[in-house]
Symmetry: C2
Subunit: 114 residues, 2 copies
């Protein structure tokens, strides 16, 4: 699995996206990002493990409290991949637009010549 596979896989789940949304607002303890989702702690721990494997979330333990924080750099690769696809697509549309404009121009000229 490549880093991009892991990132997209991690955010393909609505619960994990909700946890990332919570952590984007600031670091939190393990139970906190899951509190509004009313989940079993075991499920939270499993989702956090997926997020940590993907590199989207880091956690560290001080005493008995484990604090999680988002690692926004991991999202950049995913954002870049999507933006690049869009750029390729946009360039394609631009070329198509230019072609149609030129074609329109040529046919207008040929009409005027008639």
């Amino acid at each position: 699995m490549t880093p991009l596979d892991l990132t997209f896989q991690a955010i393909a789940d609505p619960t994990r996206r909700a946890m990332v949304e919570h952590l984007a607002r600031g670091p939190a303890s393990v139970s906190e990002p899951a509190a509004p989702l009313d989940m079993m702690l075991s499920a939270v721990v499993q989702h956090l493990a997926v997020l940590e494997t993907s590199g989207l979330v880091r956690s560290h333990k001080v005493g008995r409290v484990r604090t999680c924080r988002i690692e926004p750099v991991a999202l950049q690769g995913a954002e870049r991949w999507i933006a690049e696809r869009r750029a390729v697509w946009d360039r394609r549309l631009d070329r198509l637009g230019e072609f149609l404009a030129e074609a329109g121009d040529t046919s207008a000229k040929s009409r005027r010549r008639r």
Copy 2:
């Protein structure tokens, strides 16, 4: 599964990302986007089914040829979700920066007063 789940799930696979990359350059027949990947046609069809379910790719058949094209609108939702997380995170860092600048200002003033 929500549209976002389906989109992220679809692009969490390197073969499907390669197919999207190919189709971003222009429509192609079913076998074409998979040709450089050296895959069995059955695997291609399966991956295309996932991409079509997610709405990222549309296909239509004329005679015996099925042509696929990308639907870039489907990528927009995914791009927006990531960009929003980054925006929340950036605002958080800005506030932290302002707080630190103010704290530095206050401590500089108190040093000058001494």
